[in-house]
Each structure stands twice: as C-alpha cells, then as structure tokens.
C-alpha cells in the first residue's frame, strides 16, 4: 500500500499522520478517551511472540545503523578536530553554519547533483534499451545478458583505473584519440569522463532492474495494443511505460541514491582535483584526511539528509513502491 496521488508536501504530512493512525488502529491504545476492548490472552501472547521474533533484527539494525547515525549526529554538534583534541567542545549547529556557508561545499554539491542527474538520466535511456534487447533476444540470450552485465561485475576501482590510464596522454588510447591535452586535468572534460565511467559501470544495473519491470508487462497487453492499432512506439509509451512505472521508479530511486554518493570513480580519476569533488569526496577529505570529526560528520549528516529527502520525494510524491504492487486507488 502506498500513497502516490498526494500533490503537495502539506498533504503528504497530513496523509502521513492519518496513515499512521490507520496503521496503529489495531494497537490497543487509549486514544481520545475511546477505549478499545481489552485483548484476549491469546492475542497478548501472539503480540509478545511477535515482538520477540522482531527483537533480534531490531537489535542488529540499532547496532549497525541507528547507533552510527546518532553518533555522527552527536559528533557533528561538536568542535572536534583530532589535530587539536583539547579544543573539543559542544557548539550546537555551528558546524552546519560553517559548512552551509562554505563555497567548497556548494561546489561539491553542485558537482554531485550534476553527476546524479546526468548519469541517472542517461542510464535510464540506455538501460531501457539494453533491457529491451536482453528481454527480446531469442538467440544466445545467456551470452547477450552476460556480456551486457560485465561492466557491473567489474570492481569500480579497477574499472576507474583502466579509465584513468585510457585517458592519460601517452599511455592511453582514448586520450590520444579524442584530445591533444590531458583531459583529466581540465574540469569539464574530467567531469565528463567521471560521468562516462559511472554510466558505463551502472547502466547494466539499471537494465537489470528495468528488465524485471519488462517482465511485468503481460504479453497479452502488447498483443491487445497491436490489434487496437498501436504502432511499436505507441505500444512502448502508452502501454509498456505506464505498466513498468513502478519498476522504473524503483530503478531511478536506487540509482539516484547511489549516484548521489559517487566516490570511487572521482577518487581514482581526479582525486577531486579541479573542483570535481563530490560531497562524499569532500566529507572523506575532511573526516579521514583532515581528521576533522566535527566538520566531516556534519557533511555526512547533510549527505544523509539529502539522500533521505531524495528517497522521500520518490516514495511519497512519485509513489514509488515495490514493483507490481497496486496503485493504491482502491475504493
């Protein structure tokens, strides 16, 4: 069940509360003076068992995600530079002010957004093409699918190095082919190469997710569209895409979140030189290399918040849900 037809943020918030009320309707709480009938012994035992069964997973989640998140939020509220441990003190939101008024942060943020938008858009188009090819291939299906997935199977860092060598003047075949200078020393070409590497690497992943979506489109629907008079393009846009929408949104969500955290390609290709740092690079530079736990943590928290906003927009505004689930307009 999902909420997808909510147009504005205010509505989302309203919906959110109403939904949570709905969801907890079965929990025996005293709400507004209305008393729910007491639970039978059987129900109580069942609920206890339920909680017990959830406990291990919940504990693991707390240990590996909740604790680090809370700890980094805590760190981000302090002045904490390992080079000057004596100056450690609680300073509230001062770190946030520092970061959010800093031009490096905003440059990195812009670079990250650019990379995210461009790569995801290109990957969607290429991935769709690849997915259709993989889905429709009759001969040598396994070979086609395997070869299409190879880039995704290569370790990102290894691939990034091969791209770096390829674009290095003198040693690389691509550098000699496409430019006379050193493309990785200029900002625009560096960004283009980073995006190219990203796209090359993750398009197969996109294709894989979209292929799962393609499998959701019933053959009969396409046949029906053919007899209804649709051209191939109309079948694609009017029948396949709408039916695949849930899968496309899931794929976009995954890829957007992934792309926003882009790190390894930049690390290997330019090491963030010429203002090609992403926010993750910047956070890494401050946190690990600069040993400034306060500022670094602030950046991680900001990345976390951005990622959360992206996920929220996808899930609540676009109605991204598990592929194949109902569109929630049941009456």
């Amino acid at each position: 069940m999902s909420i997808n037809a909510t147009p504005t943020g205010a509505d989302v918030a309203a919906d959110e509360t109403s939904e949570s009320t709905g969801r907890h309707a079965t929990v025996p709480t005293q709400r507004g003076g209305r008393r729910k009938p007491p639970l039978s012994e059987n129900k109580k035992a069942e609920r206890r068992l339920g909680l017990l069964l959830c406990a291990p997973a919940a504990l693991v989640m707390i240990a590996v995600t909740a604790y680090p998140i809370i700890y980094s939020v805590w760190l981000s509220l302090q002045r904490f530079d390992l080079r000057f441990p004596d100056q450690r003190e609680f300073i509230g939101l001062e770190n946030y002010v520092t970061v959010l008024t800093n031009e490096f942060w905003w440059t990195a943020f812009g670079v990250t957004m650019l990379i995210t938008v461009v790569t995801v858009a290109v990957e969607l188009v290429l991935g769709m093409g690849l997915a259709i090819i993989m889905h429709r291939t009759l001969v040598g299906r396994g070979l086609v699918r395997t070869s299409a997935l190879i880039p995704y199977g290569i370790v990102t860092v290894v691939a990034a190095f091969s791209w770096r060598y390829a674009w290095t003047p003198g040693t690389g075949y691509l550098a000699d082919l496409f430019s006379d200078g050193a493309p990785l020393t200029e900002r625009a070409s560096s960004l283009a190469i980073i995006m190219l590497a990203e796209i090359w690497k993750t398009t197969p992943f996109m294709a894989l997710l979209l292929m799962a979506g393609l499998a959701l489109v019933p053959e009969d629907l396409l046949k029906a569209a053919s007899t209804d008079g649709a051209t191939a393009w109309q079948k694609f846009t009017k029948v396949m895409l709408p039916v695949m929408k849930p899968a496309i949104l899931v794929a976009l969500l995954f890829r957007t979140l992934d792309a926003f955290r882009v790190f390894d390609n930049i690390f290997v290709l330019t090491a963030g030189g010429n203002e090609t740092s992403s926010v993750s690079m910047l956070a890494y530079n401050n946190l690990i290399r600069g040993l400034n736990l306060g500022i670094g943590s602030t950046m991680s928290v900001l990345i976390f918040i951005t990622v959360a906003i992206i996920a929220f927009v996808f899930v609540k505004l676009f109605g991204t849900a598990a592929p194949g689930s109902d569109d929630g307009e049941r009456r």
């Binding site: 009969d220 053919s226 008079g229 929408k245 049941r330």
Partner: protein, 402 residues
Amino acid sequence: MADIVLDKVSKSFPDGTVAVQDVDLEIADGEFVILVGPSGCGKSTTLNMIAGLEDISSGELRIAGQRVNDKAPRDRDIAMVFQSYALYPNMTVRENMAFPLRLAKLDKETIDRKVDEAAKVLELTSLLDRKPANLSGGQRQRVAMGRAIVRQPKAFLMDEPLSNLDAKLRVQMRTVVSRLQKQLGTTTVYVTHDQTEAMTLGDRVVIMRGGAVQQVGPPQELYDHPKNLFVAGFIGSPSMNFLHAAVQDGELHTALGKVPIGDRVRRELESADAPRELILGIRPEHFEDAELVDDDTRRRGMEFEAPVDIVESMGSDKYVYFTVEGEKASAAELEELAADAGAADFAGAGGNLVTRLSAESPVAEGQTRRVWFNLEKIHLFDPANGRNLTLHEGRAAGALAD
C-alpha cells in the same frame, strides 16, 4: 464487416513443429464461428494468425477479399478479446475503451459518444471512471468486449474470453456475447476449449485436433453426424460411450451383447481391408430403462442387463453409470480425449457406461438393471483411422441401415 477466408493456412515453427496444417475455412460475413479443440490443437495459433499476431508460414488469409498475410495487426481492422482481458491497468474503463479510437485519431466528441454507447450496451456506464483493478472478473470481461466493439471493426476475434470466469458467470456472459454478436452482426471467430460453449454459441463449429480441422458444421450436425471418433468423443457432455466391438459372422460382439448390423455396414465390412475390430459409440441419451420403453420403440433397439454403479439424479432425468465387462475400446483419439478431459471426466472408453435415463426410472444403486438402447443411433468407428463407418453421405444412419 467482412468475410474471412483461410486458404490452406499453415503454421510451422523453426524447430519443425507444425502447429497448424492446411486449414481451409470460409467464414461468411456476420457469421459466428467457433474454433474448438483440446489444448495444443492449434486453435489459438489459427486465431493469432487471423489477428496478425503470428506469421503465416504458408497459405493465404483474406479479410474482405483482401490478402492480409503481410499486414500488421493494426492494419487489419480487427478487434480481439483475450482470455486475460488484457485491459490497460493504468487507464480507467473509459480510457481503455477509448484507446483504439484515440489511436485512430478520432475527435474527442466522437470518441466520447462511441464509448458511452458501448458502455450502455454492456451496462458499464457507472463504471467508466474506475480502474480495471477495481472491477470484478465479469466487469473486466465486459470492458474487454467494450473495447472491441467501440471501433466497429471488420471482425471480432475472441480467445477463450470466458475461461477465467466462474461457472455461473460464464453461462451469463455466454448469452451476453451471443446477443451482442447478433445485435452487431459482426463476423466473429471465437476460440474455446469448452465444447459446451462451442455448442451453444456458434453458427458453425470448427473442431481441430493436432493442427488440422476435423469437421466443420453447425453444432447439431457435429453432434448427430460426427465424421470421426475424435469429433464424436469431443462433442457432448457427458461424452459418448465407446465400446470395443468385434466383427464376427455378420454381427458385432460387444460388452452389451451381439449387435446386428444392417446391409450397408455389412457391405462396408466385406471389403478386404475392412477392420475386424470396431469401436461402437453410443450417446448416453440413447439408452433407456427397459421397463419404460413401449413395444414400438423396443423393436428399434436391443436390451442388456448390467449392474448399476452410480445414480445421479438431475431432476429432469437420471445419469446412471453401469459397469460393463469386456474389452475396452482403444484408439489414439480416445487416449487424447481422455488426456484432455482428465481421466475422471472422460469415462467414454472405460469399463463404465454412462446412460441418461428418464427421471421416472426406479433404478437404484447396487441393483442389476435391464437397459434398452437405440440401434438407430449407434455409430461405428474404425479404430485405425477413427472414421465413422455409419456415416452415409454426411448422415449417420445407425448400424441397421440398409
């Protein structure tokens, strides 16, 4: 509206399987033709070839006198209704029905008018703004029909449109389909595996088996005068009883006793290559409780005694199952029919005899009962090729015919 002609249409796949073989069929303008047969008989493939969803390997397909072999489905002006309904889940009922019209680039007013008309005919008016997910099976089915009729195509093609409905709804929708087709007078090709649907719906029924047409004709003709063992066994519910019959001294030795044969069949059996063993077929309603038969009728048949196995009282009449001794009838066709219907449903070739007796018959389970059967209604089949030997110029004449 148009006629559809299949001229030696065949479909073979690259791996050599032949799905449809030399189908010749002329469907007149406005006619309602049913393609029926067990699964894998090629009926759906034939329909898909008419629709253009499947290539034709050889032969010619003409719609309204025009060769359409190489035309895309969208250029054939046909509408198809699918077993899965194939409604577009993202569109409302109205949008679903308007889809073919929108693709045909009609103006909005015309589209609205046509959709409203079709919705009225199919009683969908109150559902027009719903999505398919919020409709019941029967409603979805009607929307699928609606999407087909709005366009006023040359022909309707229906691929088991009622198979996903429950039994009661199926009977209801059957009349809806039938009435709609009569109203619109549009040429319709309807595929089903359900012989009851085939019998009740069509002007003509085409029975297919293994990619080949077995017999084409009005339902009653197929029922009364089956050309071969397969048609005889496929049409009718409960199905025809089949017994092994050995030809000996101008008589047939069967589990029901010695059955006399008439001159015509005898002449047929006298030729050198005539089979020594036959399969005798007789429909359940051609049996009667011997007590209830008057003398005049009695003379036209013969009697036997057998233990009663099960009595199913239907109110209007009784289905009585007898156990009979003797060799079982065996032929490839019968095995195929049994496999298709499931062994339980196809008692035809077993040691069981299914009879339909009058409701007045006092027959009870466990007793041995004297039963009369009509010799004029007997069919004799050649087990080697399934041919109906009692058929004379297309008419079944029974075993006694001269």
